[in-house]
Symmetry: C2
Subunit: 225 residues, 2 copies
DNA sequence: AAGAGTTTGTGAACGCGTTAACAAAATCGT
DNA sequence: ACGATTTTGTTAACGCGTTCACAAACTCTT
């Protein structure tokens, strides 16, 4: 008995590899760009170039969704766009709550890129009483104590942690207790969550530290040349 | 002829795998936390738990740097901390320039987490004349046209793109022309750069779209249960 | 000093993701 | 109608990263 790619109980979903899932939004964006240019059909080469990936990889990724292309012709932009959007759940809007409205949280709540990708910032929450009641990007900031009520009322399943690192675990615990099952963590700290809850981490410092490492290598290389 | 892990011309650097490089800052953060708690020595188990990784993976990662532990004892926190910091170039500060001081750029320029990790925001640049001359987080915003002068004067090698997607390629071209060789791209767009320039991409929408995909699967699963 | 207990460093197996390569299937030109 | 051409979908090989498992090396107790 070998179980492949965490199949669903209902057997309908085919179990798409994580690496592929991470690229589907990229393809979707590329398809939207092509559609705006009035392109009706594209080959895997065209789309792959727009998405910045290897064409073979693109075709393999799409093959996990189904057989939506036509040999000798390519892909219908509009049709493929819809199929990917459906697969990643972008036919509906997803409400998210942002916890922590400091500089980063405020910037995220104003971020233009979310709305066009099916993400709607539905609520802002902060632990600081001085921030509660203020309005940011048209949304009134609520107290962290009201998190559960907000999450339940608006049926929110995705939370964003934009607090300092020290508060991250406490906030994560509260989000999970309130019923959130997916968390995007911007705080520079590890958060532990129970099984069934997904956490993705975006660490701004680490991205720059990785670049700094490569810069150092480049500098060392030319010093000995 | 097989070349392993992009060895350096001088032969000094051992060529650390990318996946390992990406984790070194995580280890460094965990070590700093331990040092603050007054811990002098730790085992790979201790450190791995603090960093959220498998102990075997941690040991293998560290083995690429050298043999800095003692069998039967563990790692000296302070010593290992220094060795990792040196390896990833954190014994010096890295000046970065942020291009685009909208919501996100402003938040990044105020981000507390950078300074403690050897990242210094040295300059802010924007194409909008209305923003040029204003002061954000104590830094006066310069014109995009002055980018080359700024980069040269301050010897900046790392640039951050925090503009709308449409401007990203243009900004990337200017950064590269100015002499920047590492770019962190927050814009929702692909940027093309010449060989020798590193680009890392952080896409806020995509992170949430990936979570949304998993949410959809969870929802579908229970619907048929 | 020797055995029991720890913990590192690493060789080897395994699994996932990427890429090349090609057969299958469509269109196009004559 | 049929051969040439295009392009997909997929299989197979390859490479990288992860993890297990264990010998080597150290400490501690007696």
């Amino acid at each position: 008995m070998t179980i492949l790619r965490t199949p669903l109980a209902d057997g309908s979903a085919r179990g798409i590899p994580d690496a592929t899932v991470a690229r589907l939004p990229v393809y979707l964006r590329a398809l939207n760009a092509l559609a705006e240019q009035g392109v009706a059909t594209c080959s895997s080469n065209d789309l792959a170039e727009n998405a910045g990936v290897n064409p073979a990889k693109l075709r393999k990724d799409l093959s996990y969704l189904g057989s939506y292309g036509t040999r000798g012709v390519g892909y219908d932009v509009e049709y493929l766009r819809y199929q990917i959007a459906r697969e990643i759940g972008q036919t509906q809007d997803w409400d998210v709550v942002i916890v922590g409205v400091g500089n980063l949280g405020s910037a995220l709540s104003a971020y233009q890129g979310f709305s066009t990708r099916g993400i709607r910032v539905a609520a802002l929450v902060d632990a600081d009483p001085k921030r509660v009641g203020t309005t940011i990007s048209g949304i009134t900031v609520s107290s962290l104590d009201d998190l559960t009520a907000i999450v339940e009322e608006r049926a929110i399943s995705i939370g964003i942690i934009a607090t300092p690192g020290e508060a991250a675990q406490e906030v994560a615990d509260r989000l999970v207790a309130a019923g959130v099952t997916s968390i995007l963590n911007f705080a520079p700290a590890l958060v532990q969550v129970p099984d069934g809850v997904d956490v993705r981490k975006v660490d701004l410092s680490i991205e720059l530290q990785i670049l700094a490492y490569h810069e150092q290598r480049k500098a060392g290389k030319e010093a000995t040349a």
